[in-house]
């Protein structure tokens, strides 16, 4: 045991040196770190939001809304396709209740043809060759289309993916900030923005789906009917922003999908904040055509199913740009412009978890945590040296190497250091001490039994190893389970704990054994003062 093979000595030295080098960049201020060579610059520990300050939002998508939209879109498609079919199929009694779309061909003889047309609208999803819709005939007269499980999941998945992109674009249009926007589970999106203290603006920005539509106002509707919420055929009743209701045509003139740009601006006449938008070519042409056909009539600007204004078309708008006015402040106008530029969210998102930490509090936590770490280390060093003398010095060296190795490994994995992580770090110092205490106590015992110095050391390491191994495995088990189930900060704790256990076994057993064996071989002491 005491004669270390040369390769093993080198292995210990190289591993230790590498760990220490990797630990260095994390301790340098950011400006200095940037001057390091590339590979070393990127080897550093990330600070969790609880230490760096910042906001964390967990958003949940309204999946019921996705299902509803899926059926509504299919209804639209079926109406169009049945009209286009040749011969044309007239359908009636369309229903979208109970999570299914059902309708009847007016002419029962066309049932088979209608089923064919309906089947053509379904697509294969996944690898199993499954379709996204089931088409069935009920009572030999009615066609029922139900989205399959796979179809719904596909729909939710693609809505979430789009939503994730839109969220990222809204928070960081230039794509330069270090934000995190990731999917979590099937219907959630996690947003982390370091440095952001007040997430209110962020929540407003993500709270709107920003579905913008331009529709013509239905002037034929009877005001009494509108007030009662009953719309004429082909129209719908929408609430007005300033209160009241208005009937608008169902058909969309042009929508927010056809925008090129949106900016917060000021109305040249009144000086009030407005949002100016510019359509893309197709959108601009459409808008020009419809306004030319409807001069003198009002149209509605609809945002998230609320009519924000319904101005009159004074002349055809051919330039492809328009202005939205409606009680904006500079701030809310700007938020709307950003939302419109990023596109609409395919599904409404709801904040279900929020946490934000100010940079001052984070800084304070780091300082106190580091101070506690330093004091704890000093106290332990003092205690170890008083208890084990020379072996205590070895333990101390092992402690420092252990601390550097934990930091180095965290840097190599680009792990995130959180507040519980600091606690975990301080605790691994305690764990590292335990390995050495076990060994040193065992050596003492063997010496008491009258063994020779070298033999006592040899036995001490050998006999203590099983206990060290078994005891650390239990900690590994808790660390793994914590990592598996934990979220955010707890995960940080688990990572530090797991790394600390691994390194403390290395430094406590292998590293100190190397130091001890060097001492024994050089000095060949007759007695050990232990």
């Amino acid at each position: 045991m005491l004669d270390f093979p040369r390769w093993k000595v080198w292995f210990v030295i190289v591993a230790t040196a590498m760990g220490i080098v990797a630990a260095i960049p994390s301790m340098l201020p950011e400006a200095t770190r940037d001057q390091l060579p590339g590979w070393l610059k990127n080897t550093h520990i990330n600070l969790g939001l609880d230490l760096s300050g910042g906001s964390h939002l967990l958003l949940e998508a309204d999946t019921a809304d996705v299902r509803k939209q899926q059926i509504e879109r299919m209804e639209e498609t079926i109406r169009t396709e049945m009209r286009r079919a040749s011969p044309k199929i007239e359908i009636s009694d369309i229903s979208t209740a109970n999570g299914a779309l059902s309708f009847m061909p007016r002419n029962p003889a066309q049932l088979d043809q209608a089923v064919d047309v309906a089947r053509q609208q379904t697509n294969g999803v996944g690898i199993g060759g499954q379709r996204d819709w089931n088409v069935a005939v009920r009572d030999s007269t009615r066609i029922v289309m139900t989205p399959t499980e796979a179809g719904v999941n596909y729909e939710i998945d693609s809505a979430l993916e789009t939503a994730r992109n839109v969220v990222a674009k809204r928070i960081d249009p230039e794509g330069t900030k270090e934000i995190t926007v990731v999917r979590q589970g099937s219907d959630r999106i996690l947003v982390q923005v370091p440095g952001l203290q007040d997430p209110e603006g962020l929540k407003r920005l993500l709270g709107k789906t920003a579905k913008l539509e331009f529709k013509l106002v239905d002037l034929t509707a009877d005001p009494a009917e509108v007030a009662a919420g009953r719309a004429p055929a082909g129209s719908q009743i929408l609430p007005l922003q300033e209160g009241g209701k208005i009937a608008v045509k169902r058909r969309v003139m042009v929508s927010g999908d056809e925008l090129n740009d949106a900016r917060q601006d000021f109305d040249p006449q009144s000086g009030n904040p407005v949002v100016s938008i510019r359509f893309n070519n197709a959108g601009g042409r459409k808008f020009g055509r419809v306004t030319a056909e409807n001069v003198g009539k009002p149209f509605a600007i609809i945002l998230d199913n609320v009519v924000i204004s319904a101005p009159n078309i004074n002349e055809p708008i051919l330039g492809g740009s328009a202005q939205i006015s409606g009680n904006f402040t500079v701030e809310s106008g700007n938020e709307l412009a950003i939302s419109l530029r990023s596109g609409k969210l395919p599904v409404a998102l709801k904040v279900i978890e929020e946490s934000s930490v100010s940079a001052e509090l984070g800084q304070d936590s780091i300082q106190k945590g580091v101070l506690a770490g330093i004091l704890a280390t000093l106290a332990l060093v003092f205690y170890m040296i008083l208890t084990y003398f020379r072996f205590g010095v070895y333990t101390t060296i092992a402690l420092f190497v252990n601390a550097l190795l934990v930091l180095g490994l965290m840097a190599i994995f680009n792990a995130t250091l959180t507040l519980p992580g600091i606690a975990g770090f301080v605790l691994t110092i305690g764990a590292a001490v335990d390995a050495n205490v076990l060994i040193n106590e065992r050596i003492r015992e063997e010496l008491r039994r009258g063994r020779h110095t070298i033999q006592a050391v040899e036995f001490g390491y050998k006999e203590a190893s099983t206990a060290i191994f078994d005891a650390n495995i239990t900690n590994v088990i808790s660390a793994i389970i914590l990592f598996w189930f934990g979220s955010g900060p707890i995960k940080g704790f688990a990572v530090v704990l797991a790394l600390g256990i691994a390194t403390s076994v290395f430094t406590g057993v292998t590293f100190t054994r190397l130091l001890v064996s060097q001492y024994l071989q050089r000095n060949r002491p007759k007695t050990l003062n232990l």
Binding site: E200, L375, P420, A423, T466, D470, A471, I490
Partner: protein
Amino acid sequence: MRPLKFVPDNTNIAFLSYRWWALGLSVLLLAGSIVLVAVNGLNWGIDFVGGQSIRVTFQKPVNMGELRTRLEGMEVGDVVIQQMTDPKVVSIRIPLDGEATNPIGKCMGQGVGKDGASDDSNSIASKVRGELVSAYPGVDIGAVNSVSGKVGCELFSTGSLALALAMLGISLFIWFRFEWQFGVGALVTLFHDVVLTFGFFALTRLTFDLNVIAAILTIIGYSLNDTIVIYDRIRENLRKYRKMEIEPILNLSVNETLSRTVTTSMSLVITLAILLFVGPDTIFGFTASMLLGIVIGTFSSFYISAPVLIWLNVTSDSFLQPDATKAGAERIGESFPDKK
């Protein structure tokens, strides 16, 4: 100069002869903990029940009565306001209005599905933040946490699951490494430690949040650390002194490892005490429970883990049965037979 030794060489304390007293004490503490948890309940953090917590640093020490009136005037629910050791720092907690403040009843019964509360919870956080910023210029909103009831229940169930799995996993590992009696001993020890920790939280009313789950898992780890070191020595001594009775073997093993137990526990207590008094106050509950866990863990490894082996009839033969042929082969020439 002699090295520092808290435990003199060749200490021989008959720990195990006090085992009935210790058992009495344990049963008393366990019963007390269970009663405390049942009557007092735990001070559940918003992680598990939903709601919001806001940590605020004011420019100067704030008038608590005024702050309370102001927040209560906003009609956001039952506000819990607490001043930290620094009088400028105040922690505000607002549970979800009209919902149970105990996740056990809430998450297992009805009412989880209605997640309308999540929207409220979030807008309340916004409202309180806005009010504070406008009423106390220069205030620093240190941290805001807002959790919906649904997420709270999820965290509660994953937390409970993690705890149960860790206890089971560790016990299985010990069964695998030692004998089934040792596995049972470990499980009983873990149960004892966890229940007492719950009792501690019910007694002190410290917030029981997600960090505490991490603390409990760490306590389990360290308590088992002690238990394993002693078990390891028991196994060794059972093999070495084949003719000795179980009780003297347990006493011998506890005494032989006593110096290590004391030194390690002292190191951990020093570390944790420093973390408790110097470290950030945001992890106070975490550190406090860990400190207590070290004490409970040391006690239980002496008086729960070890005596269980007597009660489960562990003898020196326990380690022979699984590999009797191998052990028999090694002992050719020795005077005693392997099996009775």
